[in-house]
């Protein structure tokens, strides 16, 4: 059976619809700017931030409303409908003792949801993992529709934490580039609707083919030098999807801009002989949006399928990984049918998912 995906939405410093965001990044506009004295030591830090203070709850509400607006009426109230929230720190600034459930309970009430939302909190792979979970539920017949919303906001907590790891880049991040020096944090929300029924969407939808996750079993904050977890996840996803690496037209990689992550990803793609497939990271536009990353970036993947445009990997100029991969240096007008999305995160977790155009 086919699982569908569509009704994608993005709320970021670049705009409040996925079209708006896609149009901006097509023009190489970025949400990243320099903020004065916001670091732990009062350093200036590059961030992708909203112009006004945005809280987690408002973000997930706005995003969910936007996805609902792109689907048939009343689907959200159905007893076979589930909402999955993907986040790493949710409301940490406002409610450190219980940063997630307060918002989720409020959401359930405000939207009169039949089923209690599931919260996936699994570091930076939360978004892709949430979509994989939705796919599994749909294919198993447990639910018929799943709204997936991923969101995270920038906080001192998270910024100072990454600074303590010396992981924050002094310049806007440069995924896969030889001069990359770390991540740029971002905030925002991304959402999609996945369903067993293609008629729930107001515009064209796509197929969510398969998705899996795998642990590196190596180190809690550094990725495997052999890219083992990512390699296994992509291998499993391809196998379950009955596809070969050569069936993939485009890769939306994780590409955070750290020395180790990007090197690890390139090694994993190399092991899979995917070196020639056009590939990008979107973090040069949105920053690393943590729990929102998988959803924001998948929404851009869907826009890429709609428009047959592969987006330039902003911040990349020269090969910076030992394994050569085909990082896009400009937008490419090309027929795209099948996209592989990957994500990796703290705790050695890795996830991958494949979407494609309907036949």
């Amino acid at each position: 059976m086919i699982t569908y995906i569509g009704a994608e939405n993005i709320i970021s410093p670049l705009g409040v619809t996925s079209q708006e965001n896609f149009n901006k990044i097509k023009q190489a506009k970025t949400g990243i700017a320099c903020y004065q004295e916001v670091g732990f030591g009062k350093e200036n830090i590059y961030l992708s931030k909203f112009k006004t203070q945005t809280n987690f709850y408002d973000l997930i509400v706005s995003c969910l409303q936007a996805v609902i607006a792109e689907s048939i009426t009343n689907l959200i109230f159905d007893k076979k409908t589930l909402v999955i929230i993907s986040t790493t720190k949710a409301d940490i600034q406002e409610n450190i003792a219980s940063p997630i459930l307060f918002s989720v309970n409020k959401l359930k009430q405000e939207f009169n949801l039949y089923n209690t939302p599931i919260v996936v909190s699994n570091a930076c792979i939360s978004g892709v993992l949430a979509m994989n979970t939705a796919n599994n539920y749909l294919k198993a017949g447990v639910y018929e529709n799943v709204f997936i919303i991923g969101a995270d906001v920038i906080s001192d907590f998270v910024l100072f934490g990454f600074q303590s790891l010396f992981a924050i880049s002094e310049m806007p991040c440069q995924p896969f580039d030889k001069n990359r020096k770390g991540i740029t944090l971002g905030e925002g929300a991304g959402g999609v609707l996945m369903s067993i029924n293609k008629n729930v969407y107001k515009s064209i939808c796509f197929e969510f083919v398969e998705g899996t996750s795998s642990n590196d079993a190596n180190h809690i904050s550094g990725p495997s030098r052999t890219g083992e977890g990512l390699f296994r996840s992509i291998t499993n996803t391809l196998e379950l999807a009955n596809l070969n690496p050569s069936d993939i037209d485009f890769i939306s990689a994780h590409g955070t801009g750290t020395t180790f992550n990007d090197e690890m990803e390139a090694i994993a793609f190399g092991r899979l002989k995917m070196n020639k497939i056009p590939l990008n990271s979107l973090k040069g536009y949105f920053g690393h949006t943590l729990g929102a990353a998988g959803l924001i970036e998948m929404a851009i993947c869907i826009q890429s399928l709609r428009n047959n445009i592969a987006i330039k990997s902003l911040g990349y100029h020269h090969q910076g990984t030992s394994e050569k991969i085909n990082v896009t240096t400009q937008n490419i007008n090309m027929e795209i049918n099948t996209i592989l999305k990957t994500a990796s995160g703290f705790g050695g977790c890795n996830a991958s998912a494949i979407i494609r155009k309907l036949k």
Partner: protein
């Protein structure tokens, strides 16, 4: 049909495996209790001491079950999935991390790395070299329906067994319910993996 091959309950100063008490301590604090349990299990794994309380609890729960029933680990390295959850994410460590930088000190990297609840999955995976599916969820209460549904999904997809855990960690208490679900009834305890049985086992030893 799948089975709960083995399960355990851990709370302050006591452990029960498959319904029978295996350990009892008189430790004066939660952290001391976790250290005493670590020592009692003769684990030669100094990394344990770097873990935060949530991770220590999850880690030691899996080690306890492995010790009682070594057979449960006889799987290929990608066949055991990990499915854990709690109701407050990494809240205790979050508070500790925030304190590290709020009162004149610098933010602590060794605390920051534990401000994500899924790190405990990573520690278990590292210890055992398990490369399978992992997921951490946050939910108000132990949700038997979630575990029944999702474990079965994983067993039908790409797992032969699923190590599950529902944890409760805050300033004043620790509580863990861990259960190992497999396609075969490894220990022959005859505990079918179904909702009523799972709820019954969850509520065992609850005061």
């Amino acid at each position: 049909m799948s089975y709960i091959s083995t399960y355990c309950h851990i709370s302050l100063n006591q452990c029960f495996v498959d319904g029978k008490q295996t350990h009892q301590f008189n430790s004066l604090s939660i952290d001391q209790f976790l250290k005493d349990l670590y020592t009692a299990l003769s684990l030669d794994y100094p990394k344990f001491y770097k873990m935060d309380r949530l991770t220590k609890l999850a880690f030691i729960g899996t080690e306890l079950l492995k010790k009682e029933h070594p057979e449960i680990t006889m799987y290929n390295d990608n066949e055991i999935a990990l499915l854990f959850g709690n109701n407050n994410s990494s809240a205790l460590t979050d508070i500790n991390f925030k304190e590290s930088y709020q009162n004149g000190g610098s933010p602590s990297p060794s605390l920051f790395v534990y401000t994500l609840p899924n790190i405990l999955l990573g520690e278990i995976a590292i210890r055992n070299k398990w490369y399978g599916e992992n997921m951490f969820i946050v939910n108000e209460n132990f949700d038997s329906v979630y575990f029944i549904n999702y474990v079965n999904i994983l067993l039908n997809k790409n797992a032969e067994a699923v190590f599950c855990g529902w944890l409760n960690v805050n300033d004043e208490m620790v509580e863990a319910f861990l259960f190992f679900v497999s396609k075969k009834d490894i220990i022959q305890l005859n505990l079918p993996f179904e909702k009523s049985k799972l709820i019954e086992l969850y509520q065992e030893n609850k005061l």
